[in-house]
């Protein structure tokens, strides 16, 4: 895999992970389907996500221990896996959101001027 490809894939992964983490922070414990619905709603369907990728994102966040998981019952009485943000997740979220906002600000200035 060319280095350029890896770089782009990583950026996209990172931004999705941030959105998923933020969703769990705002909405409380959710299952994967709920996260996808929320992302659709908040982005006004601009995201056009392959919703399966939410589960890969959740696994990455689980590995980093930024979220935890447990089994529960969904609104329509189905057995479902719920994901919850952890304390380190909340800390990481603050850091990464600040990073993101800072970078977005820099990009706006540079792209606006250059």
């Amino acid at each position: 895999m060319a280095k350029g490809d890896m770089g782009r894939a990583e950026v996209l992964q990172g931004t999705l992970d941030l959105m998923v983490l933020r969703t769990l922070d705002t909405m409380g414990p959710m299952h994967g389907y709920g996260v996808a619905r929320r992302l659709e709603q908040v982005s006004e369907d601009a995201l056009k996500l392959n919703e399966g990728t939410v589960y890969v994102s959740l696994m990455r966040l689980l590995h980093r221990r930024l979220i935890s998981t447990s089994w529960g019952t969904s609104e329509n009485n189905r057995k479902a896996r719920f994901y919850t943000i952890t304390r380190s997740g909340r800390r990481a979220l603050t850091i990464e959101m600040n990073n993101w906002n800072r970078i977005a600000g820099v990009m706006a200035r540079v792209l606006g001027r250059a």
């Binding site: 994967g32 996808a36 392959n50 919703e51 399966g52 990728t53 589960y55 696994m59 329509n76 896996r81």
Partner: protein, 106 residues
């Protein structure tokens, strides 16, 4: 440092549970598709069209399972790499002490 160690150990569990996790992800993806089908049908779409649209929206489920399996496999390498780096650091800092351990174990 303790936090890093805990993270490593947690990820290691994922390696040993790869097959089980794959089954869980498969079920989650199935449920996800089913819920989308219900949603589309509730808005008036015929059943087969709804299923097609739902599958399209969820995307390549095999790819998702492969990526998750990969992630869990890589956790092993991360852990092993961390162990090796830790050992090298220990040796660098206190070569005599580390050498003594190695000799004792050997």
């Amino acid at each position: 440092m303790l936090k890093t160690l805990l993270t490593r150990f947690a990820a290691l569990r994922h390696v040993f549970r790869r097959a089980q996790i794959d089954e869980e992800i498969r079920q989650e993806l199935d449920s996800h598709v089913e819920r989308l089908v219900e949603r589309y049908m509730a808005s008036g779409m015929p059943a087969d069209e709804a299923r097609h649209a739902a599958r399209l929206r969820v995307g390549n489920t095999l790819r998702v399972r492969e990526d998750v399996y990969s992630l869990n496999t890589l956790a092993w390498f991360d852990w092993t790499e961390a162990q090796i780096r830790h050992a090298v650091r220990m040796f660098r800092r206190q070569p005599l002490y580390a050498a003594a351990i190695v000799l004792t174990v050997a």
